[in-house]
Structures are given as C-alpha cells and as structure tokens.
C-alpha cells in the first residue's frame, strides 16, 4: 500500500486541489467560513449550545421547527441574493472584460436557481406549514412529530451540501435542473453535478415526508366540528400543496437517482449513446417541476386569502369557489409539464393539448384574483404592510400570468423559448407570487409567534424598494427577450445594443438589495423596540383560530381544544362572547411528545452520506448508511415518549396571561 492509495481509501477523490479556487470564489468561501466561525463563536461565547440543543435542535414542537425553517430560509435568501447580484454585475458589464469566468458564472446561476427554489421558497412554505397548520385546525401538534423533525434535519443536511462547494470542490454548472447530457459524467466529470444531485435528493426526501405528515395532519387532527368546508382557506391550500408534494416528489427522487446512477455506476438512462434518452430526463424532471411551482405558490395564495379577509374586515368572498379553484389548480398542474419544452418536437397535436391545458389554468387562478379583489370591495380596508405586499402581488402576478399565457401558445413559444422573456415571466410569478406572499405572511403572523409587531414604517419602505426594484429588474428582461437575448448569458456583443437595458435591470436588483437590507434593519429595530410594540393575542382583529392562542403561543397551543361550528371560527367566537360571558373552563392533563435527538442524528448522518457519495468515499457511505438504518430500526420499534403537562400547571400558565 502506497501513500496514494491510502489517501484514496480515506478521502475518495478529495484532494488538496479541491480547496483551491480562483480569487472571487475563494473570497466567497472565506466569507462563508468567517460567517460560520462567527456564528459558532457567538453561541459558544454566550454559552448557548445546551439551550439550543435542548430547546431547539431536538424539539418536536412544530412552532420551533417552523422558526428554524424560517431562519435557514432567510440566510439562504441572502446567499441566493448575492448570487443574483453577481449575475447582474456580470451582465451589465459583459461587453468589455467580464469579471467572472464563464465556468464560475454558470455555477452562480445554477446555485442561484437551486438555492432560491429548494432552500428559500420550499423552506418558507414549510415554515408556514409548521407554524400555521396545527393552530388553524385547532390542534396541538402534527400527526407525526418525530418525522417532522427528521424532515427538517434532512432539509438542513441538503442545505449544508449545497453550500459546501464554496469551500471544497465546485458546484454544478448545468443550470438549476441539470439537463443531460451536459450533466452526464462525459461533460461534467467534477463534483459539481453530484453536489447538486445529493443536496436535492436529501432535502427532497425531507419534503416528501413533510408532505405526508401535513396531509395526514389535516385529514386526521382537525378539532371538533371543523368539517372540511369550515377549514381556513390557508389549510385548504396546504392540503392542495401536500397532495402535489406526495404525487410528484417521488418522481424527483427517481429522476435524481437515475442521473446519479448514470454518473456513478455507468448506466445509460440519459446518456447520448447506448440507447440513452436525454429527453426522458427532461420529461421526468418537469413532471415534477411544473407541479413544484404550484407547490410553492398555493400556500402563498392561502396566506393572501387570510390576509385580505382580515384587513378588509370581511369574510373571504366566494369561499367555495376558492376551494374549487385550488382543487382545479392542483389537478391541472399535472397536465401541463410539456409546455416547458414545446421545442422538443413532440408534434403539433401534443403541443396543442399542452398549450390549451396551460391556458385553462389561468381560469381558476383568475377566479382567485377576482375573489380577493371582491373581498376588498366595500370592505373597511386597512392598508397595513401585508396589504401593500398583497396589492403589489396582484399587479405583478397579473402581468406574470398574462406573459405566461403568451408563453403557452406553442408557435410563439418557439420564439420565447430559453429567452430572457421566459426568465422575466417566472421571476414575475415566483417573486411577485411566492416571495411577496411569504413577506406578507411574515409581517402578518410575526406578532403571533413573537409577541410584538414588526416596525410598519420600515416595512413600507422595504416594500417600496422591493416593488420598484422588481419592476426595474424584470421589465427590461421582457424587452431584451424580444430583442433575442437568451438566458444564462455571460457575455454579448456591444453592437447588439443590449447593455443599457441590462444596466437598468442591474440597478433594479440593487434596489431589491436595499429592500432586503431594510427588511433586516426592520427586524433588528423591531426586536430592540419590542417593549414599545407589544402585540395582544388577537393582533390584527383576526378571524381564524390561531389568533385565539396567546402571543407567543404556549407549547400546547390551546389549553382547551376549541370547538368549531362555522368558518372564521375565531371571529364567530368573538361575536358570541359579546353576547354572553364565556363559561368557566375545566383543564385536563396535556400530553406532548418529548424532545428527541433522532432528527439531528439522521440529518447529520445523511449529510455525511451525501458528502461521501459526492467524494466517492466508500467506507463513509457504508458506515453512514448502516447507521441510518440501525437508528431508524431502533426508533421504529420503540413506543412513544411523552411528557405530561398537568392540569394544575396548565391552569397556572393560563392564569398568568
């Protein structure tokens, strides 16, 4: 045994070379290391490790898991945002000497897309599920609390893997969906695509488990009297989203697994030889990918529905049609995946069917938009920050929806395909739809889970910068798309006359950057001034059950589980309370799951597994895999651990409010 083979056995294909990057990449890596060291140092200095481990990392309380999702998503939003800034800086200056190498530029846009979809948008919606679903259905917990923790830690493991290439190795340069044959070993022998595959695979399995968990929660754990058609509309949107997750994430799992097999065991699924079929990959990934965009946007729709009703002080207009629109979108979203590649050459008939199905989705979506507007009509509208986000959303989403219908026309699509017109369209939907929805939701539900309001004034400024920056950043892309600029462009000829519009777009992204900075500032100011802006339990004169919990809620949510007779259950409770005084309540023991270290353990082992597969470290793959199986087996065969909060203690805690 020589030194080389020992090294190879221990570290796989990892070499010192993997740590060497060009100056700009190295800068990013150093920034990441510094951030990590500062975070770890701070926790150590404040002696908070025990507290974090006991109260957060091992917690099975969905409220805490939701907050952890949110924090990770916020950090990842900054990471993806820096990527966006670099893309724009490159494109605004790309006629002269571009400052990024083509390969680095490709890694940046691949990372930007991957991180924004999987580790920001998905994480934000899971944060919302965890925080809102149990209280809105009048429940104390989710159906499978430990599974919920495992889901989060799988997601966290994926997050670590997707950020690792800044320090060691390289990230995928094959775009956010890594089309083969470019993503095959032949053209991409490095670690990049493997990092991409395993980050998504591990996080994706977490998402699938969450989907199963929340679907079961909604079906099985609604409080007494809450029939399906009495659920808050946000819960309906989660039901739609989780149905989609369960139906399509297995497809993603298979697709990624097959690509990984091609790359590691030399199979021929998507290669360009031995009968491999790259278009099979494109079909599979979009059979997941199209429903995925609805997975992201449905919860945003749900959140807006709650927000509009509350701030218009009216019940939601057309509840039943809202529900059916959600169900229609859920089903239709399976029937349109081919519109992502009309240019495949499936023929006029196939393209026509998918084009028409795509246009049909505009109908239920339109129903929802009009319902929101009719909810505002003759309402006593309070123009708070969440409502500003809502109105920004309606406008941008309508524009994005219209350009979506333009894209759905197959002959026209041959012109738009892969152009910046498309890029502008989907940013319109995902920023204007998902992200604005998430921001509105954060502002709206913040007081519920912290006990104080976010600063309204700074929030408004943040909104103004976000909206104007957004228009400035993406309106030029529509025009550039018509002028023939394609996506993922790292340089272009100055004679094309594109640079002016690219610079305008870059300025727009800078404005968005100011908006983000203001949001961070808003959170800091609000935390510092929390004594000045305390939020009561019913912070906005709300309509749904979560507003009947204390702010922040106790770990058991409700001391006595509420009984429901109507929609907008809390609103009706308030009206009833005005008529006659509430009866004295009788408390009972409350049983909740004990904290468990299984979640972080499985997450940690999965992270080791992912990194080991990327670097071909055989022994670590086997060890982590066996360890995961053993941990699961031991845990699955054990009975539940519970902690009891006695009735007397509940009474004391409630009296202290």
């Amino acid at each position: 045994m020589d030194w080389n083979s020992i090294w190879h056995f221990i570290f796989g294909r990892l070499t010192m070379q993997a740590f060497v990057h060009d100056p700009i990449m190295a800068g990013a890596g150093i920034m990441e290391i510094v951030a990590l060291v500062v975070a770890i140092g701070l926790v150590t200095y404040l002696k908070k490790w025990r507290y974090l481990w006991k109260n957060w990392f091992t917690s099975l309380d969905p409220k805490k898991i939701g907050i952890m999702y949110f924090i990770v998503a916020a950090v990842m939003l900054l990471r993806g945002g820096i990527d966006a800034l670099m893309i724009k800086a490159q494109q605004s200056t790309a006629t002269a000497d571009a400052f990024l190498s083509p390969d680095h530029f490709q890694q940046i846009f691949s990372a930007h897309g991957t991180i924004m979809i999987f580790f920001v948008a998905m994480a934000m919606i899971f944060a919302m599920f965890n925080l809102l679903v149990p209280p809105q259905i009048g429940s104390r917990d989710v159906a499978f609390p430990l599974l919920n923790s495992i889901s989060f830690w799988l997601f966290a493991a994926g997050m670590v893997i997707v950020n690792a290439p800044l320090i060691v190795g390289e990230f995928s340069n094959a775009g956010w969906l890594a089309y083969p044959p470019l993503s095959e070993l032949q053209y991409n022998p490095g670690t990049g695509v493997d990092y991409w595959i395993w980050a998504l695979q591990i996080a994706g399995i977490g998402s699938l488990l969450s989907g199963i968990n929340f679907f079961t929660t909604i079906l099985k754990m609604r409080t007494k009297g809450m029939k399906m058609m009495k659920m808050p509309i946000f819960v309906w949107s989660v039901l739609g989203t989780t149905s989609l997750i369960m139906a399509v994430f297995p497809i993603l799992t298979v697709t990624l697994a097959l690509l990984a097999l091609d790359r590691t065991l030399g199979t021929n699924f998507f290669t360009s030889y031995n009968g491999g079929n790259p278009m099979m990959y494109v079909n599979l990934i979009w059979a997941w990918g199209h429903p995925e965009v609805y997975i992201l946007v449905l919860p945003a729709f749900g959140a807006f529905s709650e927000i509009v009703a509350t701030f218009s002080r009216k019940k939601l207009f057309g509840y039943t049609s809202m529900v059916w629109a959600l169900i229609a979108i859920t089903f239709l979203s399976f029937t349109v995946w081919l519109h992502h590649f009309f240019t495949m050459g499936a023929g006029a008939d196939v393209n026509t069917v998918f084009g028409i199905m795509t246009m049909i989705i505009a109908i239920p979506t339109g129903v929802k938009v009009f319902n929101w507007i009719f909810t505002m009509y003759r309402g006593r509208v309070r123009f708070t920050t969440p409502m500003l986000w809502f109105m920004g959303f309606v406008v941008t989403f309508a524009i994005g929806g219209s350009t979506g219908v333009m894209l759905s026309v197959p002959p026209a699509n041959f012109q738009f395909h892969n152009s910046l017109f498309l890029v502008a369209h989907f940013h319109n939907m995902i920023i204007g739809g998902v992200l604005f929805g998430v921001f509105a939701a954060i502002t709206y539900w913040w007081p519920k889970f912290t006990g104080f309001y976010l600063n309204e004034k700074i929030g408004r400024y943040a909104f103004i910068f976000w909206l104007s920056g957004f228009v400035l950043a993406f309106a030029p892309l529509y025009i550039l798309g018509f002028m023939g600029a394609v996506r993922r462009l790292d340089h272009y000829d100055p004679s094309l006359g594109w640079q002016g519009l690219f610079i305008v777009s870059g300025v727009g992204v800078l404005l968005i950057g100011i908006g983000v900075a203001l949001q961070i500032f808003q959170v800091i100011v609000s935390v510092l001034q929390r004594k000045k802006n305390p939020a009561p339990a019913d912070a906005w004169d709300g309509r749904t059950l979560e507003w009947s919990m204390s702010s922040p809620p106790k770990e058991y949510n409700f001391a006595v589980l509420p009984e429901v007779t109507t929609r907008d259950a809390f609103w009706e409770q308030k009206l009833a309370m005005k008529r006659h005084a509430p009866e004295p309540v009788k408390y009972q023991d409350i049983r909740l799951p004990k904290p468990s270290f299984i979640g972080p353990l499985i997450g940690g082992l999965s992270m080791v597994f992912g990194m080991a597969v990327v670097w071909h470290v055989i022994w670590a793959i086997l060890v982590s895999l066996v360890a995961i199986i053993v941990v699961l087996m031991v845990r699955l065969l054990r009975d539940h651990d519970e902690q009891v909060i006695s009735a007397a203690k509940v009474e004391k805690m409630e009296a202290a409010l």
């Binding site: 199963i212 139906a247 399509v248 497809i251 097999l261 065991l265 199979t267 031995n274 065969l637």
Partner: protein, 202 residues
C-alpha cells in the same frame, strides 16, 4: 376514582387515534411509493427497445425461473397474511412460525433475483450495456431493495415480538408490515407482466 377512569379513557382514546393516524400515514406513504415505481415503469417503457447493440429481453429472460421467483413471493404473501391473522388471535407459536416462513421465502426470493442478475452480468448484459438494461436493473433492483428493507424490518420486529409477546403496538406494526409486503407483491405482479412476459413476447 372516576377521575382516573376518565383519564384512562382519554389516554386510550388518544392512543387509538395515534394508531389510526399511523395506518393512514403508512397507506399514504405506500401511495407515494406507487408514484416512485410508476416513474421507473415509465422509464422502462420508454427505454425497453433501446437495446443498443446488447441483448433484448427475449434473449435474456428465462420464464420458468421467473415463474419460480413469482411463486416464492406469492407464497410469502400468504404466509405473512397468516402471521398477521394468527398474531391478532393470540397464537404466538403459529404466528411466529409463519413470520419465519415469510422471512425464509423473502430471502429465497432475493437470492434468486441476485442469481439472475449475476447470470446476466456474466453473459455480458450488465446495467452499462444498454439503456434497456439500465432501466431493467433499476426497476427490478428497486423492488428488490424494498424486499430487503422489508426483511430487515421483519427481523427486528420478529425479535421484539419473541421478547415481548402480546403488545398492542407490535400487532399494529405487524399489520403495517403485512400491508407493505402485499404491496411489494402487487408491484412484482406488474414487473412480471410488463417486464418479463411482454419482454419475452418481444
């Protein structure tokens, strides 16, 4: 006194609800597994004629052998059904014996499958040979992996049941394992039909 009785009732009711939830959740998981296998079947359907210069299903598959595999798996689905029913009625020895039979048949099935795989590879038909064989191995081996996982589960649960016979929660687990096993059987029927039978017909 009545306080405690009431409390016990509530606990029992909560336990029952947890068990119901688990059953529903497990069924939903099985449905997601259906989607997983569907994707693999779809991939196989698209790639089954992409034999490149390698052998086709007609050249490779030996139907008597596959029929043998099928019968072994079908018998095991009967024995696990017996194990679930017998355990529910409290027949310890008979139930555990049937579980052991199931385990043996499961192992036999896996051994047969691996024998077939090795034979193919020796004949120069590995997963690298053609897209058809890639999709064949991926689909059939994914089923095999599920069987292997089921066997591990059976082993763990069997040992637990010998050591602490009569626990309500273990009966629930055994029922879920039975469901899982039947599910794998159904998947195998589809593999038998769409991969082997249609493959031999060409």
């Amino acid at each position: 006194m009545s306080e405690t009785v009431m409390e016990m009732d509530i606990i029992r009711q909560e336990r029952q609800e947890v068990a119901n939830r688990k059953t529903l959740g497990f069924w939903i998981y099985l449905m997601t597994d259906v989607v997983l296998f569907s994707s693999l079947f779809a991939t196989f359907a698209v790639l089954r004629n992409a034999v490149a210069s390698g052998p086709s299903g007609q050249d490779l598959f030996s139907m008597p052998f596959v029929l043998g595999e099928t019968l072994v798996l079908l018998t095991s689905t009967f024995t696990i059904g017996m194990a679930v029913v017998l355990a529910k009625r409290g027949f310890k020895i008979a139930a555990l014996f049937n579980l052991l039979l199931t385990f043996g048949l499961g192992v036999a099935f896996l051994v047969m499958e691996l024998t077939e795989f090795t034979e193919f590879v020796h004949e120069g038909a590995s997963w690298q040979t053609s897209a058809f064989l890639s999709s064949f191995f991926a689909l059939v081996a994914t089923h095999g992996l599920h069987v292997a996982f089921g066997l591990l589960w059976m082993l763990g649960l069997g040992i637990k049941m010998i050591r602490r016979w009569g626990k309500e929660t273990d009966l629930g687990r055994l029922a879920l394992l039975g469901t899982f096993w039947h599910f794998l059987d159904i998947i195998w029927i589809f593999i038998f039909t769409f991969v082997y039978m249609i493959g031999v017909l060409g």
